[in-house]
């Protein structure tokens, strides 16, 4: 029973279809609270699809169909009663390509709070500052909060997107290859950030970079063609994987 509380997200017998394509096959996986879980696997194996299952971003894809149950803190998030906009205030997402709004830095970070109806200027400014600090961007932009977010570098834009997601203080942060468009220095910054963030947040991150997975994550799930092959502590997956497929993948024997 006490063990149960340590899990914030759980997928139970989840099957996902895009039309005829069976993209996720009977996935059972629990995600530990205040940990970083890495989703790895070859291209097209369903990592992004699985990530989007948790904040229901697949719902906008016409051919998408899901079977099974997904729980967040005991609540079935695919229940008809659940409002997706409320759900997503608890589960933030950072996308592969930085996607700041064509608005100022301040407006970007404050957006999630403003749509919740918060108008208190001081409160907003506080949150914006804190979020930018957490995203390790404050020092670079503090004199220029009115500048368009589009005028920043790619790495800075991605950290804006992280700050924007953090500003609403979600419980979970989903990150889909957040560093794939970044240079090594920005990547290092984001990874450092992930390590700090797990104090407060639960993070699920998709990555193609094995070193990154081993550097930032506590647990790793390996997907292959829609199947969850192996899910364990990251060091176990990388030191002595139980399945041959996992072994082959992490040692780079197939792509």
């Amino acid at each position: 029973m006490t063990n149960e509380l340590n899990y914030i997200l759980e997928s139970k017998n989840v099957n996902v279809y895009y039309g005829e394509l069976h993209a996720l096959k009977d996935i059972n996986l629990k995600i530990q609270k205040n940990s970083v879980t890495a989703l790895i696997g070859p291209s097209g194996c369903g990592k992004s699809t699985f990530l989007r299952v948790f904040n229901r971003m697949n719902d906008y894809i016409d051919s998408f169909k899901i079977e099974g149950d997904v729980f967040m803190e005991g609540q079935n998030i695919y229940d008809k009663k659940v409002r997706v906009d409320e759900l997503r205030k608890n589960i933030g997402m950072v996308f592969q390509k930085p996607n700041p709004f064509p608005k100022s830095i301040y407006e970007n970070v404050a957006y999630g709070l403003k749509i919740q109806g918060i108008k208190d200027k001081e409160f907003l400014m506080d949150r914006v500052e804190n979020s930018l600090k957490q995203a390790a961007l404050w020092d670079e932009v503090k004199d220029d909060l009115k500048k368009s977010a589009l005028a920043l570098s790619g790495g800075q834009q991605q950290r804006i997107c992280i700050a924007r997601a953090l500003a609403v203080e979600p419980n979970v942060l989903l990150m889909d290859e957040p560093t794939s468009a970044l240079d090594p220095i920005s990547t290092a910054k984001v990874e450092e950030l992930i390590n700090e963030l797990k104090e407060k947040y639960t993070i699920v991150i998709v990555t193609h970079n094995m070193q990154q997975a081993s550097r930032v994550s506590d647990n790793t799930a390996f997907f292959y063609m829609g199947d969850l092959i192996e899910h364990a502590k990251t060091e176990d997956i990388f030191r002595n994987p139980k399945k041959e497929r996992t072994q082959n993948y992490i040692t780079g024997r197939f792509g």
């Binding site: 971003m57 997503r88 390509k97 996607n99 709004f101 064509p102 957006y111």
Partner: protein
Amino acid sequence: MKKRRLEYFIELILKACAVVTILTTIGIIWVLLSESLTFFKEVSIKDFLTDTEWTPLFAKKHFGILPLISGTLLTTFIAVCVALPLGLVIAIYLSQYAPKRFRKIIKPLLEVLAAVPTVVYGFFALMVVTPFLQNLIPNMAGFNALSAGIVMGIMIIPFVSSLSEDALQAVPKSLKNAAYGLGSTRFQTSFRVMVPAASSGIIVSVILAFSRAIGETMIVAIAAGQQPRLTANPLVPIETITAYIVQVAKGDVPHGTLEYRTIFAAGITLFVFTFILNNISFWIRKKYREQYD
């Protein structure tokens, strides 16, 4: 050998078409300019721009263009007030809410609005809208700016809605995902992210609709009256630049007289307006393209 000669021939025809178009444009501008220059030898530009009466066909002649400009702007303003909110709401609905299949039916239906002959709209304004409005506003005149403007607004709805919809569709999908990902409702996504991101395209659509309304002739000639009047009152007869040009061109004013030349002065005024508007929209579009590249 034969093929090559054919191709040369085709190229020649295409070139000729292009040259004819350019020559026509130059010709039109030249006639407009030279006739207006003759006009402005007799009437000072100052009188033209500041006199508040336009009575070139009366015994006591005044050549102030302001009443015609006010008539034009009044009907245009009413038209844009109708077309902007309706067109924008339609565009948002079609691009953000409507199922694909529904959109495919509605879009061509909307374009029909732009395909109706304007003379039909004119009669519609005069015979249907005006009597209807007179029930609500008893002291409204039979010819007035309001009905003409409203009907013109309906006519230009598809300009606003289809160009605005294109602008909304052109907003990168990643922005929509970002908005939804942060817990925005569909309404918030539409109005806080999509519309602002598409704003330059939407503004362009409105300017083009504006420019179309300024040049519109038939509806205002039929339903707005032929009484040049410097007023902002939409309930009384007025005259627009275009309606005046029609009045003189189809009337019995002898060619070559000062009275006749007034239509070129009026025409060049109209040309200046639409030219400026088109340039503004061109400039915005250019800027906007740079933003997304």
